[in-house]
């Protein structure tokens, strides 16, 4: 995140949908508000890329203050019941103080994936093709960063620290080095491709 950069003008939590977490508790999306979050969409039976995503999120967990929450939303609500999510959390040592695992209806999954701009498609009863995206939300649910692909998440660690900077009183995060060889300049592109009034960095 660059100095002066702000989040999207909208909150993901305005979707208004209600999910179930790994404890079987009803979770309106807005209950995630109040602290910054890193959110990814996976499914627990995915053996190809989702383990890489989860491993990277565990690395983020280790490198960021405890106020940064980590959210895994299932793309496969049919099979990822709350029980299954609890089992998955236990297997991967995803503790409830940092981790929230959610499952919801197909329509709610579709809406959330759509607003996070995650492309996916069911290939069969057991398999989904999907984009791997990590999204950082601020405490209000605004998108402050989006990283597509399976690259390491150092930027997200930096942003996560910056968002959680108040409670830990550590030195401010180092500025992101300028993209030199080739880089997307994200803020105008990812968040509002309609090209409305541009927000400065």
């Amino acid at each position: 995140m660059q100095p002066g950069e702000t989040g999207s003008e909208y909150s993901i939590y305005d979707l208004g949908s209600t999910w179930k977490d790994q404890a079987g508790v009803d979770r309106p999306l807005a209950t995630l508000a109040g602290s910054p979050r890193v959110i990814a969409m996976i499914y627990t039976h995915c053996s190809a890329t989702c383990p890489i995503t989860v491993a990277e999120m565990k690395r983020i967990e280790a490198l960021t203050p405890p106020t940064l929450g980590l959210v895994l939303v299932s793309l496969d609500g049919d099979r990822d019941t709350p029980d299954r999510l609890a089992q998955y959390a236990a297997e991967h040592r995803l503790t409830p103080d940092r981790w929230t695992l959610l499952r919801g209806s197909d329509a709610d999954v579709r809406d959330l994936a759509a607003v996070l701009d995650i492309r996916y498609r069911r290939l069969s009863a057991t398999e989904l093709a999907h984009q791997n995206v990590l999204t950082v939300l601020d405490a209000a649910g605004a998108v402050v960063h989006r990283q597509a692909g399976l690259a390491d998440a150092d930027d997200i660690v930096r942003i996560g620290r910056a968002l959680s900077v108040a409670p830990i009183r550590s030195a401010p995060a180092a500025p992101t080095p300028p993209v030199a060889l080739f880089g997307e300049v994200r803020s105008r592109f990812e968040w509002d491709r309609s090209g409305g009034p541009l927000k400065p960095f």
Binding site: A180, L181, F182, G183, E184, V185, R188, F189, R193, G195
Partner: protein, 373 residues
Amino acid sequence: MLPFHLSAPRTPMARMLLELALVVLALLAIVGLAGCGAPVDAAEANAASGVPIRTPSSEVIGEEVAVLTTAPAVPAPITRTHATKVIVNLDVIEQTMRLADGVEYNMWTFGGSVPGSFIRVREGDQVELRLKNAANSTMPHNIDLHAVTGPGGGAKSSLTLPGGESVFTFAALNPGLYVYHCATSPVPMHMANGMYGMILVEPKAGLPKVDREYYVMQSEFYTTGAFGAKGLQTLDMQKGIDERPTYVVFNGSVGALTGEKALQAKVGERVRLFVGDAGPNLTSSFHVIGEIFDNVYQEGGTSATQHNVQTTLIPAGGSAIVEFGVEKAGDLILVDHSIFRAFNKGALGILHVSGPDDAKVFASIKGLGVGGE
């Protein structure tokens, strides 16, 4: 070792002169060291290997907005001697434009013209390309610049819906004259509808000084109607697949470089043409009738690899830089020497040379108009 022997000075004047000489030497040494001490340019350091691994400039000073020009104009040579951040604002505009007299076509353009705006940057510059797609466009568009080292030449980061903007940044690592084009699927349709242009990455040392620089780009149009058929024409995909263009033109339309729009030069001037071939299909046999290219930078590279050339081959999606001095007044004719294209499909332009005539260069002695019975 110094090329002269230093002995103890015998007079105050001599001593003073020697001291002065030593100071000058020291200053020279400092300047030289400063040169050596500056961050080593990896591109140059590696150039000796033959295949350099290039790195972006370590020092990018300041920021400027690129001046873009519409063909045949070319932005002025760059006089800067350092790398800077260059912002390129390129707007995609779809509009109905003239293809030939009485013939119109819904062109898709970079900057409102076919070919698209000419971009000029300097080797080592950090370019920020801002691609805007007009809100009333009917299609998404993107840009692949052959000057870019990066995914899709920028295309992967620049798919832009109508009303949207994409921004990406790249280091202008390699100097040369490069084609850019839209690479949105179906790419042949976007290119056949006019989405191409050129970017010059000027070498650090600049190009030799000339009096005139022009931007000429050859391309084809595949229309449902025959050559010259009036009215609004649209893409004939089958003609494209068969590589049977209806039109082959310079600078986007029949007659873009003739009559009042002819290129101009004066006798005794040096002319440089930045020539591109957008295709989509054909290779150009670029020739200027009545002139010989003194220098050809083949395929848009940075070395004048050939001299005294009649016709140079320009690949589709490629370019060439040609330079020549004009010695004779009159009209020089730009053609694709695959000559049906010039005669029947539009690939024709004029460079009008004005000034005093020199009969020694050329003069008719006997013929239809001169000295006949």
